[in-house]
Symmetry: C2
Subunit: 393 residues, 2 copies
């Protein structure tokens, strides 16, 4: 337990020091101290991995896949990613050599991409409410983040985007995430097209995080990589589609002229991704597409269950067409300070949900519920929420 | 195969753009085009993983270790790391909660540490010849690297360190790596102590990469974390000691006041490390210490074999007390331009070794041989080297 020499106490990255620990984890940890709490705070699938995917990882271990993999990932997996993107989302075919890099989850994909493609001082647009990690990474790199508040529909409109671009002519890129964490809202094909048309006109780079693309309940996911491939870096991974969060396999795909830089940064960050985990991902993309659909159908039932419970308790929410989140508005007759609300809810009926304001402008007065939880827990949660509302009536 | 929109072609990190692809990989790839080439270029152990370590990874897969692990890594592994460092290297006991972070190999440990603890413009000393990745990461972050040429003994002397510090009074940190890649040279306890005394006096931070600590052939490894714990961030991992390069498990240990920042950066880089790979690392540290010693003894035999072959061919080398590299001086009667030498050697007798100059000042006129190769390959390599020398005589 060595103490730091006192003279060295100021030795750290001043940008990093300004970034607070993940607010969602801070809230979650406070909830954890409450005896009997039921938490719908984090976005962690409760499913176990299908056996054939586990078997693929174990086979790789048996076959001594314990040496350095190729820096951009196993070629077989890069090929599987290319094929999957074409077959599932009708994207252009990304060349496995040079246009695809396998990463340690979508997290490393985002860090490597943003750190490879941007310089300190660059301006990037991030629609809000949003996943807080985007802004944190942007701040570490020294980017200037320009938020666009998308409340109350949580869909970025062409008008808002145009207005923001007119105000900030030096913007280099727009970060998209749909289906969205935290709102669960996703974009129709027409909505993506309208945005893509503007981005093409303005010669903007698009960083499109589509990690929840398999979890779309009403209609089809339309990828930015299909509509605007010449501008898009697609970020995705297996964590959400196949309940593989702990295996940490993500990827980026895009034009070679950009991916070259991302791949170089990736090597400096992590060298490469663990082989057996890539073998699991390859199996999931080659022979596990039905698994993703099976999980999606269960999430859809859970979503409907939670939406019904929310309605009964007097909450409204923007249409949660994807991911496994619902972003609900706190009814006016309750305490609409979302931070105070979630703590009171947790104390009173032992239900933990995330306050909307931690996701940025537009989130105030909302709460985020994750339905990546068992059906039984979700039923209990809705009983507790109704009970709370009745108590306050 | 999307083409990048031409207007976006300049969209990348200008610091990254200045960093060339890993020169050792460039050389290695050129060699690969030569039919029948035998390469001793890369540092990749040729051993398979012991069965009990594979079994531990497979058991974790069976037990559904597929959800997000704790951000700093499985607690069991952090405890194993703490115990191992105390028992094996007599370090202080690092508190598993707060003083240890499990990383995606030593690569991510280095990137997270350097990015968490330094700001652009900070000065850092790196003795050369050295592993090129250190300077590349430093350049990405915008650090000013001050090299100290340690040729011909490849041990940093107190005198050289003092002189450099006098010239550069604003230096914040020194990066150490011993046993050293590329020289194979390591430091005696007295040599580490002499350096530690100066660093303590100057209140400098020490980043000590001791990934090869288990591969010390003459005497005992003395850790900077034992002698100067209040200043030291220890970087290590399982890749070299247990031939687990492809599993990507490394770690950092140090005072909590620094590790807090490293752990925060780590989360933004990768979220956490794959669970089953951590289970393998835990097994290796708890029940696989004899495996490391067994491999070390084989490496030692190989080192002696290569040293004998080099001597016979007229090459000399600084005492390679550790790691699995020998840094040999090209005899004066041959072409001592090391880059020209290695290409001629590869063309003439189909033996690929690394040119010393790619490892920085002090490496000119040397070549690096990796003996992480089979005994048979090493014997063949020495025959080819002797043949080359005879041809040129």
């Amino acid at each position: 337990m060595p103490e730091l020499n006192a003279a060295l106490a100021d030795r750290f990255n001043t940008r990093l020091a300004q970034i607070l620990p993940s607010p969602i984890r801070v809230v979650d940890q406070k909830f954890s101290a409450i005896d009997g709490i039921l938490k719908l705070t984090l976005g962690e699938p409760d499913f176990a991995l299908p056996m054939h995917i586990k078997d693929a990882a174990k086979a790789a271990i048996d076959e001594d896949d314990s040496h350095y993999a190729a820096p951009h990932g196993h070629l077989a997996l890069r090929e599987a990613i290319s094929d999957y993107l074409v077959e599932r989302f009708d994207t252009p075919r990304y060349e496995p050599n040079g246009e695809v890099v396998v990463t340690v989850g979508a997290s490393e994909a985002l860090f490597a991409t943003m750190n490879a493609l941007f310089n300190a001082g660059d301006e990037i647009i991030i629609p809000t409410p949003t996943f807080p990690m985007y802004e944190a990474i942007a701040n570490i790199i020294g980017l200037k983040v320009i938020g666009i508040n998308t409340a109350p529909d949580f869909v970025l409109t062409p008008e808002k985007l145009q207005a923001t671009l007119a105000e900030h002519p030096n913007v280099k890129a727009v970060l998209f995430n749909y289906p969205s964490n935290p709102t669960g809202v996703t974009y129709t094909g027409a909505q993506v097209q309208a945005i893509a048309d503007i981005l093409a006109e303005h010669q903007l780079l698009v960083l499109s995080d589509e990690i929840y693309a398999e979890l779309v309940y009403d209609g089809e996911h339309v990828s930015m990589a299909k509509l605007l491939p010449e501008h898009t870096i697609l970020v995705s991974g297996l964590s959400k589609s196949h309940a593989m969060t702990g295996y940490r396999v993500g990827y980026v795909a895009g034009p070679a002229a950009l991916i070259t830089h991302v791949g170089k940064m990736h090597q400096f960050l992590v060298t490469t991704v663990p082989g057996p985990m890539m073998a699991a991902a390859n199996e999931a993309l080659r022979h596990g597409r039905a698994d993703a659909i099976e999980m999606r159908d269960i999430y859809k039932e859970r979503r409907d269950l939670v939406m019904a419970g929310l309605a009964e308790a007097g909450f409204t929410a923007a249409q949660p067409g994807g991911a496994f989140y619902i972003f609900a508005k706190i009814p006016a007759h309750l305490n609409t300070d979302d931070m105070a609300f979630v703590y009171d809810l947790a104390e009173t009926v032992k239900l933990g949900i995330a306050p909307g304001s931690i996701f940025g402008a537009g989130g105030e007065g909302y709460v985020r519920l994750s339905y990546a939880a068992s059906t039984e827990d979700l039923q209990t949660a809705m009983v507790r929420l109704k009970h709370y509302v009745d108590l306050k009536a």
